[in-house]
């Protein structure tokens, strides 16, 4: 998958590396801004209270 992606990209190795780094930055930003907060809403927060059964 990643090997195929590497071969599909044009240019010398450093251009491909730059493109991949930019893509990784975009994915990371999207995760932090939207995906992680969205996933977090589905996770039941840990109980910190004491309560009867």
């Amino acid at each position: 998958m990643y090997g195929a992606l590497w071969r599909v990209l044009p240019g010398p190795w450093w251009v491909r590396a730059l493109i991949l780094a930019a893509a990784a930055a975009v994915v990371l930003t999207a995760c932090v801004l939207w995906v992680f907060p969205w996933v977090n809403d589905f996770i039941t927060p840990q109980d910190v209270t004491v309560e009867g059964q």
Binding site: M1, P37, T44
Partner: protein, 257 residues
């Protein structure tokens, strides 16, 4: 022979570059694993910093609203007895902020909003929660609060660092109520007696003013609860200025705001 070698080499190259189902599956798994690790790092570290900062700003903003027009000079170290503390008549509606929790041990600028109720998607998501039915700050009995130790801003992330004698302040519209940390206790999640007006003694009539913080224990798990008991020391009416220990932070916040 040269011809055969060339063919073998070409076949090897093809095998290496061929995208196989198992290969893609492995890469998908590795990617998923990296994303899960990133999420965990975000949840327990990066997001706590961001959300903790938001909670702190909310507390500072509320404090400034309360302080508007009041003296910002610190209360003198020696002062006349302020008398019995003013106590709020009743708790506000659920998830409404009515106080701030200030613990210098957690950092000189540590302040977090206290909201009514302990709903996980309500008060506890926005700061510290106040157990409904327990006393209000300064009252005889038990002010019981809960907060996250990891995640959701982790307002009580450092609860385990409290040391006997540490001051803990509850700030309300009326002023600052100073409590002194006394001891930890560890109970099971069903140990509701820590919330009693006299902790662990639900039948007794209260005479002391107690502050009880609850959070999860051990850190990052929810198997038990850590309980931090503090006892009322004194209070600082808002008109008399903030407690000397908090005065630099109050002045800095006023200058920034």
């Amino acid at each position: 022979m040269v011809l055969v070698d060339g063919r073998v080499a070409r076949r090897r190259a093809e095998r290496r570059s061929r995208v196989t189902f198992v290969g893609v599956l492995g890469e998908v798994f590795i990617t998923a694993g990296v994303l899960v690790l990133l999420f965990l790092g975000w949840q327990v570290w990066l997001n706590d910093i961001v959300v903790g900062g938001q909670q702190k700003n909310q507390a500072i903003e509320q404090s400034q609203t309360w302080s508007k027009g009041e003296a910002s000079a610190p209360a003198p170290a020696v002062r006349p007895d302020p008398g019995p503390p003013i106590v709020m008549a009743s708790a506000p509606a659920d998830d409404v902020q009515f106080a701030n929790l200030i613990i210098p041990r957690f950092g000189s600028d540590y302040t977090r909003p206290i909201l009514e109720g302990v709903a996980v998607h309500g008060a506890l998501a926005d700061g510290i929660g106040h157990y409904p039915g327990t006393q209000m700050p300064g009252d005889v009995g038990n002010v019981a609060l809960a907060g996250h130790r990891t995640g959701w801003g982790a307002p009580l992330g450092d609860i385990g660092n409290l040391m006997v004698g540490d001051s803990i302040y509850l700030e309300t519209e009326d002023g600052w109520y100073k409590y002194i940390f006394r001891t930890f206790a560890y109970v099971m999640p069903t140990g509701v007696d820590v919330l009693a007006a006299v902790p662990q003694n639900p039948e007794a009539a209260p005479t002391d003013r107690i502050l009880t913080l609850t959070s999860c224990n051990p850190k990052t798990t929810a198997a038990e609860r850590i309980i931090a008991y503090s006892i009322f020391d004194t209070w600082y009416p808002r008109a008399g200025g903030p407690p000397p220990e908090l005065a630099p932070e109050v002045a800095a916040a006023a200058a920034a705001g």
